[in-house]
Subunit: 386 residues, 2 copies
């Protein structure tokens, strides 16, 4: 079967941004089209991944508004929402549009505008994704993270410091990412001494609230070179998605993310590749503990050994398996609908040698985007153009 190629990618500056989400989407979309030298009128499909423009901004129908602003009409449009993994779900939808033959040229633009709302308001919208059974008891995603972190540290005899080192590593990587929200190193003491949010996790174990957008352009690989040279595109070797129990406390082992296991199995099988083949990965470090869990559930490390990989520098930029070279959600920021798209942007940049001072050696990359507390996950495996 003809693979789907990603022939262009872009992202806006992440952080506190002026304007509406539509402005950010338009900016990323315009840059993505320019990256591949494509005119908006050539698009067959245009998807927007976004969780909550209605709740955050009182504006709906943003895919149609974006088609207008980019002059992409009559391209077909739709919005894809999968909470914090809306971006990954958008990648899956865009991939399906091309793989099904429905579209020969699809652009996905993910974005969210959140910082104009208070942290309490933004958190309330996000918390509404949890199961009502848990929500009514006041459980939020950060509290799940705290409980899971405590369980992980005790079960696997991991030091509290190892969690902090995820934040230190990802902040260090973010310094070299011009699009990152935070471009400053933090030392371990700063992380460990920051205010408690959900014991044992502290402020620096959490990603920030962010505005931003990212975009990708996809087509069948058979025509990719009509747009760009072979070394400027990547292919989606495998992609998959899966849910875990929506009620988090129903999970047999909360330190295992079933959606990561299942979605990556699908993606690996489609790709004919395994975790050992992956050279660089972007994981969903909404909380530091999630990077450990995903690095294990993706098969990179044995269960309970993810923390050692960070301690030993294996996941550093100059380590055997660099993880979150972009700075991750932790330092790059987490504009919900954009995050999964920006993960793929980073892998695209790494595999096409466009990652600048963040560049690592890589032929195969993986992005793992997590919705809720692993309630739904998409995993995408990419290879450099062939």
């Amino acid at each position: 079967m003809d693979r789907v190629a990603i022939i262009g990618a872009s992202m806006t500056q992440f952080g506190e941004r002026d304007g509406w989400v539509l402005d950010l989407l338009s900016k990323a979309g315009t840059a993505c089209l320019a990256d591949a030298g494509v005119d908006a009128s050539e698009l067959d499909h245009l998807y927007v991944s976004n969780m909550a423009s209605g709740e955050f901004e009182g504006q709906t129908g943003i895919p149609n508004a974006l088609a207008h602003d980019l002059a992409a009409t009559p391209a077909y449009t739709a919005r894809i929402d999968q909470t914090s993994s809306s971006g990954g779900a958008g990648v899956y939808a865009a991939w399906q549009s091309v793989a099904s033959g429905a579209s020969d040229l699809t652009m996905l633009v993910g974005g969210e505008k959140m910082t104009h709302r208070s942290t309490a308001e933004a958190t309330d919208v996000i918390a509404s994704l949890t199961h009502p059974v848990e929500y009514k008891h006041g459980v939020t995603l950060p509290s799940f993270a705290g409980l899971t972190a405590r369980l992980y540290l005790e079960t696997y005899d991991a030091p509290r410091e190892s969690l902090g080192k995820v934040a230190v590593k990802n902040h260090r990587n973010g310094v070299d990412n011009p699009h990152a929200q935070f471009r400053k190193e933090v030392d371990l003491e700063t992380v460990l001494d920051s205010p408690i949010v959900a014991d044992p996790l502290r402020l620096y174990d959490f990603c920030p609230i962010t505005d931003g957008s990212a975009a990708l352009l996809l087509c069948p690989e058979s025509v990719a070179e009509e747009y760009v040279p072979a070394d400027e595109y990547v292919t989606v070797a495998g992609i998959g998605g899966a849910t875990d129990t929506h009620v988090v406390h129903e999970r047999a082992d909360p330190t295992t993310m079933g959606g990561v296991v299942d979605s990556s199995e699908i993606a690996y099988e489609m790709a004919g590749l395994g975790p050992d083949d992956v050279d660089v990965a972007e994981l969903h470090d909404m909380f530091t503990i999630l990077e450990f869990l995903q690095s294990e559930d993706l098969g990179f490390f044995e269960k309970g050994e993810g923390w050692r990989a960070v301690e030993e520098g294996v996941t550093d930029r100059d380590g055997e398996l660099p993880i979150n070279t972009s700075g991750g959600l932790k330092s790059k920021g987490h504009p919900l609908g954009a995050s999964g798209v920006a993960q793929v942007y980073e892998i695209f940049a790494q595999l096409t040698g466009q990652a600048g001072s963040r560049q690592v050696e890589a032929d195969v990359g993986l992005a793992c985007n997590v919705g809720g507390f692993g309630n739904c996950v998409t995993t995408t495996v990419m290879e450099a153009g062939r």
Copy 2:
């Protein structure tokens, strides 16, 4: 290429319903699985088409909650929003999931819960889909409809009564639909004498605000008979989507819906069929005028002649081309995310001979779902199982 088959379908009672949208989705999903004798654990993908659960109910992440309630975990889930055509966009997404090979068994459940909000609140959410340029001048979808109706009547010398006859016909059809919100005939005088909403359109030219859900089960046609006999499934012969200008006043001719023209051309071409092949159709009669426009832009009738077809009974249930045998949005109701799914449900019922007292003779059916004021449209052409 192997076609995509629809092997099961269901819908809840439409109208004012108790509970949350999740309850309605769960009810329709359960019935759909039962219709095809499928267990939820067999699902690969589960899509929810819904415009605004966050705005209407303060609840997000409903696809994951539905996967939980149906015991469909670890099926992949996502929410598809395309405003009032979310249902059609969901059909397109579900079709793509199977046609791309990503899923061998996909369920789509569309739904909306609206009646617990005031008409003003609901209308405000819906109006937020229009372009800000128009929205800030107070333009709403009903006002577009009034302006377009006036233009149509004047341009094509159509009598005001012809619009009213759309309402009369669709209410008559709705009497025989046990799921319809309104199961009562109305006479032309009642329609013409009802309160003015947007001149020349009156209350009975508009669909109501509705709660409801509908569901479909899709798989490759090659395995359809593993689930149901050949006379109990239909195939998607062709499907397409397209946008028109998001700013309605930029359209050269507001009586032509470009999205309907473009999406149906894609669907017809994929199907190898044309408008003359269609035996029964469900059109998006959110306002009576829209049934005229779509019946022309789909190629059923010449431009400006759609009103004559209604006057002459061509689109009656016993006419040459029955339109909206379900009662249409007008009498069946319009729960945004469910409507496009319920259109396909009706065609499924007609093509599999399960439409009861609404049954017509048909081998080919078409559903046209319109988002906004034609801002984005999906058209689906279906054939009886072969």
